[in-house]
Structures are given as structure tokens and as C-alpha cells.
């Protein structure tokens, strides 16, 4: 006796969170049943394996039908076929768009194209995340990217509006879109110690300060190049950053800067001597990173440069985080006292963001 057909349809669509998670994680029905059996659900409920199999199949079928709607979450809200309470709708969407840390670290900053998709197999083997789940996560990134890429206005707001994600998840997606668009390198061995959270934090600061949208004025001329306000870095700003070079090129200015910082920090740093010895190197590193940002390739290497030029030297001298903070604060503030330096606003826009990023990036 075999069941040819076996379905359960509720007026309110039943969503089992555990099964949903298994489905999202890309397990096949039989794997999911095995996992559920292992969770001890049979003992708890007194059900049989056949019941569990039928229940799992049923949920998988429902999720499969819902998936089409989840690709455009507003559709899920307006569709009539599945009656789902709003809180459950939110849960479905949020979980569907949630991603694995291990996976996002692999694709962050990469071009979300078909070529990358072929690499999903490798990622799956490497991370232990099922290929199915990798594909869903990758497709989610790509879908969100496609929708908001050309859109004007706040990136986070756009994502929230079109995908109905929570604030937290929308911010994460904004970071993913921002990284994918600017193709920041995140995969180098040097950068492996950084988490997605670190990058997302930097992305947010950069979106807030370094993009066209960050300038704050609403675009008056619709023809002007402000379509991707939040997604692209402000080209003009990057050009201007060259002007900062004078801080390390002009020897007097560099010496004056160093003496200002050293005077203030003397006795306050545990690593004062190391700082004093390294000041010029560090300052050169930071300013050169700025000056190079005119080239796309160097923009991509921003994080590699920051780690190489700043994080690693400090770490090798065992600077405590508090010292790094004191140094960076003083380093950016003292520039205001340099009489010969005219680009104070530019410096603040650059260094304000960079300081935040560096502090976040500075850990083991």
C-alpha cells in the first residue's frame, strides 16, 4: 500500500519553523526527515516516521509554492492564495533572506554574475553549506542587487521597501550591494580574520560619508549623475583626496604633524616610543591610501591596503586598541592645527570614516 497523493491544506497556511529552517538549509526531504527524527520529535509527540515523512513533504511543497512569492516579498503580502498572519509573513521573508556568515564572506565584494555562480560548488564544499542553500543565498544577493542598483535614494530604505526586510537585515544587504558594486577585495588571506560584520560596519560608514548621497542635498537636476546616490563612491571626492598628499610630501608639514601628535600623547600611550618611531610610516600609509583612491583597482584593494599599511604594523608592535583609538583621534585632530594645510573639510570627511573603519578592523 503506497500513498499516491497526500496533502494537507489549511485555511491559515501552517508554517513549521523547524522544517522551514531545514528547507532553507537545502536539505532534501529524506535528510530533513532524518534530522527531525534525530531531534527526538517522534518521542515527544508519539508520531511515526511515516507521519513525519508526510508532514515534511507537505511543508516542503508549501514552501516550494511560496518561494515564487518570496522572490518579490510585497507580492506575498498582497497575494490571496495563502492566508498567512502578518507576523508569519515577516518571519518567512526574514528567514528566506537571511544568509550564512561563512557564505557571505566567500562572495562579499565579488561580482554577482553567472561566472561566480559556477564557483558555488566550491564554496559549498568549502563551507559545508548545501549547494541548494548557497544558490538561494547567492540568488537573493543578486536579486536585491539588481532591484536597488539603479535606484535613487537611500540604499537601506530601498531595500527595506522592496524586500520588506528588518532594519538589521536591510543594512546587511546594503553592505553586500555596496561591496558588490565597488568590488572591494575581501578574500585575500590577510583579510580572513575579518568578519562580515566588520565589513558591513565599514560599508555603512562609507555609504554615509563617501557616496554622492552622503553630500546630503537632494538632487535638483534629474539629469545629473546622481542616480546611484548610495551605491557609488563620490568620484569628485576621490579625486580631491589627492590633495591630502601634501601631508606626507611636504617634510615640514609631516614633522610638524608628528610633533603635535607626540606632544599631546606623551605619557598617555603604552606604546609611545613605537608610535614615535613609526609615525611617518603610518601617516604615509594612510595618506597614500587616500591618494590612490582615484584608480578603480586601488579602490578595490582599500581593505588590503588598510590592513597592510596600518593594522599589521600596529599589531606587530602590540598596540592596545585604546592606544590605537587615542592615536587616531589625535592624528586626525592635530591636522586642524597645521596652518599650511587648506583641506580641513576634505580631511575630516576622509579621516572621520577611516578612523571608524580602522578601529573596527583592528582586532585579532
Amino acid at each position: 500500500m503506497t500513498s499516491e497523493l497526500d496533502i494537507f491544506v489549511g485555511n491559515t497556511t501552517l508554517i513549521d519553523e523547524d522544517v522551514y529552517r531545514l528547507w532553507l538549509d537545502g536539505y532534501s526531504v529524506s535528510d530533513a526527515v532524518a534530522l527531525r527524527v534525530r531531534s527526538g520529535i517522534l518521542e515527544q509527540t508519539g508520531a511515526t516516521a511515516a507521519v513525519l515523512q508526510s508532514d515534511t513533504m507537505d511543508h516542503y511543497r508549501t514552501f516550494h509554492m511560496l518561494e515564487r512569492l518570496l522572490h518579490a516579498p510585497p507580492k506575498l503580502l498582497h497575494q490571496l492564495i495563502f492566508q498567512i498572519p502578518p507576523s508569519r509573513q515577516a518571519l518567512l521573508i526574514e528567514r528566506y533572506y537571511a544568509f550564512d556568515e561563512a557564505f557571505v564572506r566567500e562572495v562579499l565584494g565579488k561580482k554577482l554574475s553567472k561566472g561566480t555562480k559556477k564557483d558555488l560548488d566550491d564554496i559549498s564544499t568549502k563551507t559545508g553549506i548545501t549547494l541548494k542553500s548557497c544558490r538561494r543565498q547567492f540568488d537573493n544577493f543578486k536579486r536585491v542587487f539588481k532591484v536597488v542598483e539603479e535606484m535613487r535614494g537611500s540604499l537601506v530604505d530601498n531595500i527595506q521597501q522592496h524586500f520588506l526586510l528588518s532594519d538589521r537585515l536591510s543594512r546587511d544587504y546594503a553592505a553586500i550591494v555596496f561591496f558588490a558594486n565597488n568590488r572591494f577585495e575581501t578574500g585575500k588571506k590577510k583579510l580572513q580574520y575579518l568578519s562580515f560584520g566588520d565589513f558591513a560596519f565599514c560599508a555603512e560608514l562609507m555609504i554615509q560619508n563617501w557616496t554622492l548621497g552622503a553630500v546630503g542635498e537632494a538632487p535638483t537636476d534629474p539629469d545629473s549623475q546622481v542616480d546611484d546616490m548610495d551605491v557609488d563612491l563620490d568620484k569628485e571626492f576621490l579625486q580631491d583626496l589627492k590633495e591630502l598628499k601634501v601631508l606626507v610630501a611636504d617634510k615640514d608639514l609631516l614633522d610638524l604633524h608628528k610633533s603635535l601628535v607626540c606632544t599631546t600623547l606623551r605619557g598617555k600611550l603604552t606604546v609611545f616610543s613605537e608610535m614615535e618611531a613609526n609615525f611617518k610610516n603610518l601617516s604615509r600609509g594612510l595618506v597614500n591610501v587616500a591618494a590612490k583612491l582615484t584608480h578603480n583597482k586601488d579602490v578595490r584593494d582599500l581593505f588590503v591596503d588598510l590592513v597592510e599599511k596600518f593594522v599589521e604594523p600596529c599589531r606587530s608592535d602590540h598596540w592596545p586598541l585604546a592606544d590605537v583609538r587615542l592615536f587616531l583621534n589625535q592624528y586626525s585632530a592635530s591636522v586642524h592645527s597645521l596652518d599650511g594645510f587648506r583641506h580641513q573639510a576634505l580631511w575630516d570627511r576622509y579621516m572621520g570614516t577611516l578612523r571608524g573603519c580602522l578601529l573596527r578592523l583592528y582586532h585579532d
Binding site: 497526500d6 508520531a47 511543497r61 492566508q83 532594519d167
Partner: protein, 1032 residues
């Protein structure tokens, strides 16, 4: 020209892409009613067109308004080739035709295509202007209200219950016409959908005319069915109960109808003038006939059983002169009626006087092509024959009426089994006619009917009993005789005294039959039927005894015929009626007494059975001594009655504790194990697994013994098709397969709904069909309702004055009410937290610790489990929601009125006639929909399961959309009458037909009501609902 129909097409959304090149659609809409068609402009290149059309006006007869559906077709404009159809919407405008129901239909309707399913939605507004009809010889019956609900609808009062109305219309099935060979499946499906819609419209109109003739204004318990007779045609038939209903205007008037003084009955507020219409000719494509032409059809009438108690008889004393008088009265009231049948299953208090037992009749017919659709009298005659038989069965039981009456068919090829069943009863005449003879009888009735047991008293003469029965004096009033067991097809009367809780009892049976043709086949079937009836009855009786119960309610026996087998499935809700004697145990007797091991085997089995009975009694709380304790605590006003109850219970309690064989000798049920069949019977008895802790199930409206429903409900449909593996099956193997199928299905349901514990599956409705040789299809529709465990234990009392009961639960409601408010103030997710609040409210509220201690440990355990499950889910949603920006927006969506805007309102569906924790304020009209879905890409749509899952979800969606468009927020008395599924996996094809119906209503939460009108604190029409609110 008595009516003007106005239609406006507003907009569409989520349309499918029809032009691959542009990924867009050039959509326009055709609006058709009768033979008139209007078109909107083409809205170019959009998947969300805004037509915003003018008002299309159709000037039509109200007759057409009743028969015809409004047909809206969405098409894609194509300059060079034919326009492609996207899909259709059929709107039944009947609800607009009577004054109290909906005034406008407006909202988003799913656009449905029989091949592709739902493809987007369309926003439509429909209005009807009805002109006064002065024509007395009219064919229409506008104004007659229809209800699927099988009781008097909640916001009405029955002035007169007139009685049985029936009608049937026949036509050729378009699927079998010659033209079907050349047209597309889509065209054929649409022709069928349209025809059935037209036929049901006509049927309803004709029934309406009959109601007007009887001077009624409504049909209650309206049940319409289709018989797909294949080659021989398509029959649409309907039965119902004609009534004169009076709308209750103020909430205060929600008191039951019986409380109104009898003189009120005389002022019959008939809205409609008598219409003794002569029938004019009418060019309808459907035909009914009134003539009489006899055909030489083959037909076998099957001797049927009358189900009542069974046991060794002992005659009692005479029943008193009152009974005779009453019978006389009722008789005179009912004699004028051809068939004194009532499709109602629940009645106004005082209506039902005595219940005799279940009466049923079946007959096997050979279908013959309906040569002349104008004369469908053979079908009429068939049913008349069966009804006549039912009537005579009822008479044999000393009853003049049949209540809880229903009819059904099972068709396989050219053989058709017609079945009818009901409960023989004696009714109170005052509801049946304009009260002329009330007077003293009225008073005597009130005096002589003890509360809660009157309906159990035998209506027949003890000296002339139609069958051997064991009678005793009623355990409640000690005045009248009662049978030892009572079977009925109705719901448990609200005033019945029940001990403990009830449970779902099913008898399942398969019998192989040789494949045969025509008359030989029909003869074979009719030879098998009596045996099946007998076995089903025996199984029911055994299982009932095993549960330690003594009465069955809502009994429904379905016999299904297939190519090579017959299936019988009986479902009922078993209860322990306090008025009836305690059932004896089951005794097993062997035929070969000298075999030692055999004896041992038998005694082992006997022990098992006794253990099961004891366990069941504990499980269902059938514990008469404890009940009597509780009854002392409960506010029953008459102490006299008390002592009696006590006495009877203590008597029976002795019997319970003994449970020995000496008692068994007296009136235990003896099972003789003389062959393998009987052995198997015993085994199957013991394999029925009780539902898991925290679950109850019944097939009646409400679960006896539970009266504190919380408002979370979940209606569902589950379908299973099983292929029998081997070709040379035996009856035993077949029985086991079928039994497993049903048991597994139930287990799956319990598992799926485990998050609702403690809960009860109500109105569990099983339907069996045999679509092919080796396929068994079982369809279940039911509703799961949560209830409050603490209160359940506290109030096992069953019949109390409503006000008193109300008072006793008041403190809980007061406590819960502010909590509801605060749960509502968390706007983002009103679901789990509300539940949480409820839980905590109930566990912390004024339930004395002593009472809580009484909860046995397993109950506590389940409750704890349920709470932890819920807590877990809440935690996750909270984190999601807190961060989510859409919470507030969603809340706005939810609280918005359910119609006419882009947000989707929640529409509840339930097979019950009420919604727990809420009051129905308005009936908007009947929902009766028929859909066909077909696919030629079965694998691509996820196989048979994927196909049917999607289709049923779509059907639900379309029902909800129609209800929302009428301005309603729920469907009550929802029923899936047909789900015919056919597959051809080799061709990658499948087809399914679904027919659903129900009553669209507006309901208001009771808590909301109380806010509005605190001056009516007793405005509680449902005795069953607790105050707590949870939105589903």
C-alpha cells in the same frame, strides 16, 4: 424589467506576462451577463492595468438574476491573432437580491483559469437595482434567503419551521457531448463550470418558489449536490428546510426563540404575499419536469436497518396518556406534509420532544441516459421511493418526523447507490404551524419535559416495539423509559446532560465484489449492502461499548461503490448520556470450549478489552461519581433533580467499578469468536489508537464536555489517495489497508496541529471515493479549535441556565479582557503574544488552587509542553518583528475593513455554524462554488500532490475573496461537497472537480461587542465561548 445589474471594472494586478517579447500584457475585460456582453478598453503594456471603466448596465428579469452568474473574462489583446484568455471570474449575484444581505459586491477576485489556475486578480464592483415586482405569476423567488447552516441562523428567530423542500434538475454533461471531441479542454471545462453554475441558480430559484408557496421566507440546512452520472448526464439536486425566520433586531433579543410567549407565533411576519404561481414557459437551457413517464429502469431496493439500541428486551409499563396526546398533535401538524423531513441537526429549545433512532434507506439503480432532459422524473421517482421508505421506517418507530435528514449518492460506471438517512423523532407541533392548538398542551409540555433527558425517552409504544430493545427507566428523571443505546444523525441537543467528554467513533469496512456488468452488478451490490450495514452497525456498537459510552450523535454512514469493491465508512460522535443506563462491557465467547490454549487466548483478549474500557473511561472522564460531585458544585437550581442525579450515578458507579462478567451476562455485548472474521473484528477494535494527549475529536458541531473554546480556529482539508498493491486482495487485507489509511490520516492531523494543543477537531468529515480499480481516496475536512484547559476541568457541567453559566465565568472574562487590550497594543504581531497572555491569564486567574490541583499530572504536562512550544515560537518572532519596519504597516493592513482595498483581510472558514468567541451579526448570502482544474503538465506542477495542493489552496482563496467582496469576514457551515480527482500519469494529465458551499457572514468579536454595549452584558448568544481573543 424588474432589475438592473451594474458592473464596474476597476483594475487588475499581478497579471501574468502574456507577451514574451515585452514581458508585459495588453489586457482588457469582457463582462457578460446572459446574452449581453460589454468590453473595457485595452490597457496597454501593464501587469497592473487600471481600467476604471464606466458602469456597465444590464437590464434583466429577476429570474435571470437568480439563474445566471456574472461572467468576467480577462483577455490579452493581440493585433494579429486571436486574443488570448487570461482567465475568468464567475460572480454569483444572488446575495444582492435580498434586502438584508449584501448591498454591493466589491473587491479583488482571483482570475481563474481551468488550465493554469489563479493568474492575477481583478477589482470589480457589482450592484443591483431591483424594481418592485407586481407580477404575481412570477417565476423568480428573489427574497428567499438560503442558509447552509443546519440550525436556525444565529441572528434569526424561527417563527415557523415549515418543512422539507427538494428539487432536482438534469442536463447532459458537456464533457460527454459530441462537441467535446473537437473543443479544447479549457472550453469544455468552462462550459461545464458555467452550466453547473446556471443549474444551481435555477435550482435555488425553484426551491425558493416552493418556499414562497409554503409561505416561508427562508431555506435552512440547504444542501445542494451534483451527481456526475457520466454518459447519462448531470444531476443537480438540493434539499432543505423551509422556514419563516424573523430577524432579531437588538443584541438583547438573542435569547432563544422558545422564551418568547406563544402568542408571538401567531403574528407571522410574512414578507411575501402568497404566490400560487402558474408556471409560464421559460427558455432555460436546463429542464425540470413535472410529468410522469415510467421507464423500465432496473432498480433494487435494499432492506435497511433501523438503528437504535440492541439488546435483550424486557417490556415496561404504558407510557401515559400524555404521550398519546402529543403524538396526535404532532401527527395532525405533520400529516399535511408529504415528507415530514427536516435537514436541521440542531433545533430551537423545545422543538425536539423525543428521538426514536436512526432511519436509513438505500437503493441501487442502473443509470440510463436521460433521453429527454425535459422529463427527469425517473430521478425524482427514485428519490420519492427512498423518502417514502424513510417515512415508513420513522412511523415504525412511533415517530412522525425525521430530523437531521440527508441524501447522498455513490456512482460507479452505470451503477448508482442512492442513500438517505435521518433520525426519527417526535417534534413539538407549535413550531410547525400557526399555533392553533397550543393552550394547555403547551403548558403540559413545559411541565412534563424534564430538562436534559426528554429527548431520550422512547417515542414508541413499549408493548409494540418495532424491534427487541432493552428498556429501563430514565436515569435522569426516573419517570419515562429509555433505550440502552441511542443512535442519531443530529447534533447533541444543547440541554442534554452528558458525563465526561465525547469522541469520534468510526466504523470502517471493505467488501470485495466481482466485476460485473449492468444488472448482475447491481444485484451483486444490493446483495452485499445488508451485510455491510449490519457489520458497520456491529462495529459501531462494539467501539461505542469499548469507549464506555451509550449514545452516538451525528452518525453518517457512507457506502461507496467501486469497480471491484464496496467501502463503508461510518463516523459519529460517541457520548455518555446521563439519562441512559451505563453500558455493559464486551464479553468474548469462544466456540470451542475444550481447547486449553484457546481458552487462555480468549481470557487474555477479554482482559485486554476490559483494560481498554477502563482506560477509555479515564481518558474521556466518564466517571459518574465524580461528575455528581461536580454537579453539586455547579449551580443547577433544582436540588430535587440533584438528588436524583446523585442516586442514579452512584448506582451506576458500582457497576463501573465491578466491570465483571456477571454484570456482563446481564447486558454486556457478547462477541463470539467462532471464525477468523470475528477474531479480526476484535483485533481491529483494539488497534484503534486514541488521539494523543491534549487532542479530542468529534464529528458534531461541538465537543460534548468542552465548553470554553478560545477563538483560535484552523479549518483544513486533507486528501489521501492510496494504491492497493496486490491484485488478489482478501477482505481482511482490504479492511486492514483501509483502517490503516484512516488511522494514519488522523495521526497526521494530530501531528500537524500539535501546536494548537489543547484543542479539539470538530466536525471531522470523512469522504471516501474509489476513483479507479485499486485507488482509495479519503478526503477529510474539519476545524481545529483551541480551548482553555483549566476552564474545561472546572466546568464539566453541561446544562445550566445560560445566565448562570455566564455569571460563573464572568470573573475569568473580566480578568482576560484587559489583557486582550494590552496584547492588542503590541501591534506588530498580534498572534503569539495574545496566546501567551491568554495562557498566563488562565493559569493565574481566579481559578482556585484546589481546582488546579485536580488536574491530573498528564494534563499539566501537556499544558506545560504547549506553553514551551509557544514560547519558543514567540521568541523568534519577537526578534524578527522588533527590528522589522513593516510591523506597523502590517497592523494597519490587518485592521482595515476586509473589502475594497488593496490589503488582504483575514477571512475565517469553518464547517461549524458559529465562530468561537465571536458573534455573527449578519448573514450575507450563500456561497456555492464549483471549480474544475485540469493540467497536461502534471509532473511540472509537482505531481498529483502538488497539483491538488495548489488547487485546494486556490479554491480556499476564491471562497475568501468572494466573502471579502461581499463585505464579510468569515464563512460558516463551510463544506466541501465534492472533490473528484482523476489522474492519468502516463499522459502527464490530471483533472479535479471541487464543489464547496457555506454561508458568508460578518462576525464581531465578543470583546469588541462588550466595549460597545456594556448595557447588554448578557448578550451572549453562544453558550460555548469564553472571552479570550486570539486572531488567526
Amino acid at each position: 424589467m424588474p432589475g438592473k445589474l451594474k458592473v464596474k471594472i476597476v483594475a487588475g494586478r499581478h497579471l501574468p506576462v502574456m507577451d514574451r517579447a515585452s514581458d508585459l500584457t495588453d489586457a482588457f475585460v469582457e463582462v457578460k451577463f446572459g446574452n449581453t456582453t460589454f468590453k473595457t478598453d485595452v490597457y496597454l503594456k501593464s501587469l497592473n492595468p487600471q481600467w476604471n471603466s464606466e458602469w456597465f448596465k444590464f437590464e434583466v428579469d429577476d429570474e435571470d438574476l437568480q439563474d445566471e452568474p456574472l461572467q468576467i473574462t480577462v483577455l490579452d489583446h493581440d493585433t494579429y491573432s486571436a486574443n488570448d484568455a487570461i482567465g475568468k471570474v464567475y460572480i454569483d449575484i444572488d446575495p444582492l437580491l435580498y434586502s438584508e444581505a449584501a448591498t454591493v459586491i466589491s473587491g479583488w477576485f482571483p482570475i481563474y483559469d481551468t488550465i493554469h489556475g489563479i493568474r492575477g486578480e481583478i477589482n470589480v464592483i457589482v450592484k443591483v437595482d431591483l424594481f418592485n415586482d407586481l407580477n404575481r405569476f412570477r417565476q423568480s423567488s428573489c427574497g428567499v434567503k438560503f442558509f447552509c447552516t443546519t440550525s436556525i441562523p444565529k441572528c434569526y428567530r424561527a417563527v415557523i419551521i415549515h418543512g422539507f423542500v427538494e428539487e432536482l434538475v438534469v442536463n447532459e454533461d458537456p464533457e460527454y457531448q459530441w462537441i467535446d471531441r473537437i473543443r479544447t479542454p479549457r472550453a469544455s471545462n468552462e462550459a461545464r463550470q458555467r452550466l453547473i453554475s446556471l443549474m444551481s441558480g435555477e435550482l435555488q430559484r425553484k426551491i425558493g418558489l416552493k418556499v414562497l408557496e409554503m409561505r416561508g421566507n427562508a431555506v435552512v440546512g440547504y444542501l445542494q449536490c451534483f451527481d456526475l452520472e457520466g454518459e447519462s448526464g448531470l444531476v443537480v439536486r438540493a434539499i432543505g428546510t423551509a422556514c419563516t425566520l424573523d430577524k432579531l433586531s437588538s443584541p438583547a433579543a438573542f435569547l432563544p426563540a422558545c422564551n418568547s410567549p406563544s402568542k408571538e407565533m401567531k403574528e407571522s411576519p410574512l414578507v411575501h404575499p402568497p404566490s400560487h404561481g402558474c408556471r409560464s414557459t421559460h427558455n432555460s437551457p436546463i429542464h425540470t419536469a413535472t410529468g410522469s413517464r415510467l421507464t423500465q429502469n432496473f432498480s433494487v431496493s435494499v432492506p435497511t436497518l433501523i438503528y437504535t439500541g440492541m439488546g435483550s428486551g424486557s417490556a415496561g409499563k404504558e407510557g401515559g396518556p400524555f404521550k398519546a396526546l402529543l403524538r396526535q398533535q404532532t401527527q395532525s401538524a405533520l400529516e399535511q406534509r408529504e415528507f415530514p423531513f427536516f435537514t436541521l441537526t440542531a433545533f430551537p429549545p423545545g422543538f425536539l420532544v423525543h428521538v426514536g433512532g436512526v432511519v436509513s434507506a438505500r437503493s441501487v439503480k442502473l443509470l440510463d441516459r436521460i433521453h429527454n432532459p425535459d422529463e427527469p422524473e425517473t430521478r425524482d421517482a427514485w428519490w420519492a421511493e427512498i423518502r417514502q421508505e424513510i417515512k415508513s421506517h420513522a412511523k415504525a418507530l412511533g415517530c412522525h418526523a425525521v430530523v437531521g435528514y440527508s441524501e447522498s449518492t455513490s456512482i460507479c460506471e452505470e451503477v448508482c447507490i442512492l442513500s438517505a438517512s435521518g433520525t426519527a423523532a417526535v417534534l413539538n407541533p407549535r413550531f410547525l404551524q400557526d399555533g392553533t392548538l397550543e393552550g394547555c398542551l403547551e403548558q403540559r409540555l413545559e411541565e412534563n419535559l424534564p430538562v436534559g433527558c426528554g429527548f431520550c425517552h422512547i417515542p414508541y409504544d413499549e408493548l409494540n416495539m418495532p424491534f427487541p430493545a432493552h428498556l429501563t427507566y430514565c436515569y435522569n428523571c426516573r419517570k419515562q423509559k429509555v433505550p440502552d443505546v441511542l443512535f442519531t444523525t443530529i447534533d447533541l441537543p444543547t440541554d442534554a446532560t452528558v458525563v465526561g467528554k465525547g469522541c469520534l467513533i468510526q466504523a470502517r469496512l471493505c467488501r470485495l465484489k466481482k466485476k460485473a456488468q449492468a444488472e448482475a452488478n447491481a444485484t451483486a451490490i444490493s446483495n452485499l449492502l445488508p451485510f455491510m450495514e449490519y457489520e458497520v452497525h456491529t462495529q459501531l456498537m462494539n467501539k461505542l461499548k469499548l469507549k464506555g459510552m451509550n449514545a452516538l450523535f451525528g452518525l453518517r454512514i457512507q457506502i461507496t461503490v467501486g469497480e471491484n469493491m464496496l467501502m463503508g465508512l461510518a463516523s459519529a460522535t460517541g457520548v455518555y448520556l446521563a439519562a441512559l443506563p451505563t453500558p455493559g462491557g464486551i464479553q468474548i465467547a469462544g466456540k470451542t470450549p475444550n481447547d486449553g490454549s484457546y481458552e487462555q487466548h480468549i481470557s487474555h483478549m477479554q482482559k485486554k478489552i476490559n483494560d481498554t474500557i477502563a482506560k477509555n473511561k479515564e481518558l474521556y472522564e466518564i466517571n459518574p461519581p465524580e461528575t455528581s460531585e461536580e454537579l453539586i458544585g455547579s449551580p443547577i437550581p433544582e436540588p430535587r433533580q440533584h438528588s436524583r442525579l446523585l442516586r442514579s450515578q452512584s448506582e451506576s458507579s458500582d457497576e463501573v467499578t465491578e466491570l465483571d462478567l456477571s454484570h456482563g451476562k446481564k447486558d454486556a455485548f457478547v462477541l463470539e469468536i467462532d471464525d477468523t472474521d470475528a477474531l479480526e473484528d476484535v483485533h481491529s477494535l483494539l488497534t484503534d489508537v486514541p488521539p494523543p494527549p491534549g487532542f479530542y475529536s468529534c464529528n458534531t458541531e461541538i465537543m460534548p464536555g468542552i465548553n470554553n473554546w478560545t477563538s483560535e480556529i484552523q479549518m483544513f482539508t486533507s486528501v489521501r489517495v492510496t494504491r492497493l498493491s496486490s491484485l488478489n486482495l482478501t477482505n481482511q487485507a482490504l479492511n486492514k489497508n483501509f483502517n490503516d489509511l484512516c488511522e494514519n490520516l488522523l495521526k497526521s492531523l494530530y501531528f500537524k496541529l500539535r501546536s494548537m494543543i489543547p484543542c479539539c477537531l470538530c466536525h471531522v468529515n470523512f469522504t471516501v471515493s474509489l476513483p479507479e480499480d485499486e485507488l482509495i481516496q479519503v478526503t477529510v475536512t474539519a476545524v481545529a479549535i483551541t480551548f482553555d484547559k483549566n476552564q474545561a476541568l472546572q466546568t464539566t457541567k453541561t446544562h445550566v441556565e445560560k445566565s448562570l453559566q455566564r455569571a460563573s465565568t464572568d470573573n475569568e472574562e473580566l480578568l482576560q479582557f484587559p489583557l486582550e487590550l494590552c496584547s492588542d497594543s503590541i501591534p506588530s504581531h498580534p498572534f503569539p503574544p495574545a496566546k501567551e497572555h491568554l495562557e498566563s491569564a488562565s493559569s493565574n486567574s481566579g481559578i482556585p488552587a484546589a481546582q488546579r490541583d485536580r488536574c491530573s499530572s498528564w494534563i499539566e504536562l501537556i499544558k506545560l509542553k504547549a506553553q514551551t512550544i509557544r514560547r519558543g515560537s514567540i521568541k523568534t518572532t519577537v526578534t524578527v518583528e522588533k527590528a522589522s519596519p513593516m510591523g506597523e504597516g502590517n497592523f494597519r493592513n490587518r485592521s482595515a475593513p476586509p473589502c475594497a482595498n488593496s490589503t488582504v483581510g483575514v477571512v475565517k472558514m469553518t464547517p461549524l455554524s458559529f465562530i468561537p468567541g465571536a458573534k455573527i451579526t449578519k448573514y450575507l448570502g450563500i456561497i456555492n462554488m464549483f471549480f474544475i482544474r485540469e493540467t497536461t503538465s502534471l509532473r511540472e506542477e509537482g505531481g498529483v500532490s502538488g497539483f491538488l495542493h495548489a488547487f485546494i489552496a486556490e479554491v480556499f482563496a476564491m471562497v475568501r475573496a468572494h466573502v471579502a467582496a461581499l463585505g464579510g469576514n468569515a464563512v460558516v457551515s463551510y463544506i466541501m461537497k465534492q472533490c473528484v480527482f482523476m489522474e492519468n500519469p502516463n499522459k502527464n494529465q490530471a483533472q479535479c472537480l471541487i464543489n464547496v458551499s457555506g454561508d458568508a457572514v460578518v462576525f464581531v468579536r465578543e470583546s469588541d461587542l462588550e466595549v460597545v454595549s456594556t448595557q447588554h452584558p448578557t448578550a451572549n448568544c453562544q453558550p460555548l465561548c469564553a472571552g479570550g481573543e486570539v486572531t488567526t
